[in-house]
Amino acid sequence: MAFASKSPWVIHYDASSCNGCDIEVLAALCPGYDVERFGIINTGNPKHADIFLVTGSVNERNIDVVKEIYDQMVEPKIVVACGICACTGGIFHDCYNVIGGVDKAIPVDVYAPGCAVRPEAIIDAVVQAIGILDEKSKALAAARKGA
């Protein structure tokens, strides 16, 4: 069995937009929901993280930051786009500097829509992400055995 699903450490980056989703993500991570029950830890270090929660749309300024964080994360890793801005650009989609959703910069595994995205939707998305994380972890183990 894969242990990735038992200790998913998340890193959160607020790319841009109105910050509404950013606050919802932090609300979902606060002690009230006690996500540590499931081994979830909010880390600030991409090298320790398994799940990347991105809120807000990607623009010319932050696209490099998003890519950098993603590149620093160690496989197996999952990206969750939180909020409609992170999914497609949302209401900011036609701003002069906005490129679009997070998937314009890095591969996204789970989309959690909403404006702002509800904590329930975030938790739902993370649960889905954990499932995919397990699969990726198994695939990595199989690849290592094969190699």
Binding site: K6, S7, D34, R37, H48, L140, A141
Partner: protein, 289 residues
């Protein structure tokens, strides 16, 4: 013969200490969560974390970092083996310090600014607690007439009775050694975002797993030091020692959850003042009275 005993002791320590240390770490997280009004993770959460880290891809900033960490772990196990087979206390202290130094060098080798700040702070911590640790060994020698841990079993009364001041001083620096708040400057178990996780910033996957296992071994060894004060020539004293060590551990958790972090200046002064007062006075009494 002694060598053989030490080798067997090291092997046993390498197997048992991570198990005990892992359970202690899990207990720590659970109790901390309860103190904060949360349910907390399962008891085996530290084990799950390490298994997950071992599953992750092998990525390192350079090839030497992993080697330093591996040897830091080996020396931590060696120190534990020496101590729990009743070996030389001074040797045990030097070997565990070597392990801490390798940990620091590993962080420096990554050339990352965050890791360097963590490494600098870890160096501070080593400088802060080392005098008290050495004075503890000296006091132990003055009471038992030997640096061998096993000589505690030759005593009529536990060494605690004559060096309780040193014991209090040691309890103080135990907080630094276990990296508990208010002295968790280089690497905090709670603040996962601060300074991007201090000294372990550049360590990931299996390397980070080794660091965790090393912490488990260290915790067991340091609690062994606590227990050593309460050993005398009666097998029942082992039970007493274990109980005292557990009480000390819970005290550390309580301190961890109730005090805010101090600056490094306060860390250095308080640790050295405690070492001079507690260690100096107690050793002075032992030598001249």
């Amino acid at each position: 013969m002694q060598i053989l005993i030490t080798v067997v002791g090291c092997i046993l320590f390498a197997v048992l200490a991570p198990v005990v240390g892992c359970l202690l770490a899990g207990l720590d997280r659970k109790i901390s969560a309860r103190m904060q009004g949360r349910v907390g993770p399962p008891l085996l959460q530290p084990y799950y974390d390490v298994r997950k880290l071992l599953e992750k891809d092998h990525v390192a900033v350079n090839s030497s970092e992993g080697v330093y960490i591996a040897f830091a772990l080996v020396f931590a196990i060696l120190a534990g083996g020496i101590f729990f087979t009743g070996g030389n206390l001074l040797m045990c202290i030097f070997v565990i310090t070597l392990s801490s130094l390798l940990f620091i060098v590993a962080a420096y080798s990554s050339r990352s600014p965050y890791a360097e700040v963590g490494a600098e702070r870890e160096t501070m911590q080593v400088m802060a607690y080392e005098p008290m640790v050495l004075l503890m060994a000296v006091a132990f020698f003055l009471v038992t007439g030997s640096f061998n841990v096993s000589s505690a079993f030759d005593q009529q009364v536990p060494v605690f009775t004559s060096i309780w001041l040193v014991f209090l001083g040691f309890l103080f620096i135990l907080t630094i050694k276990l990296r508990k708040s208010p002295f968790d400057l280089s690497y905090s178990h709670h603040a996962h975002q601060e300074l991007v996780k201090g000294i372990t910033t550049e360590m990931s996957g299996p390397t980070l797993a080794k660091v965790e296992i090393m912490h488990w071994c260290e915790s067991v060894l340091f609690l062994g030091w606590v227990g050593m004060f309460f050993i005398w020539g009666n097998p029942i004293s082992i039970v007493v020692a274990i109980v005292v060590a557990l009480v000390a551990f819970f005290l550390e958790i309580w301190i961890d959850n109730n005090f805010a972090r101090v600056k490094w200046q306060a860390l250095m002064t308080s640790a050295w003042v405690v070492a001079l007062v507690a260690g100096g006075v107690n050793i002075g009494i032992l030598m001249y009275l």
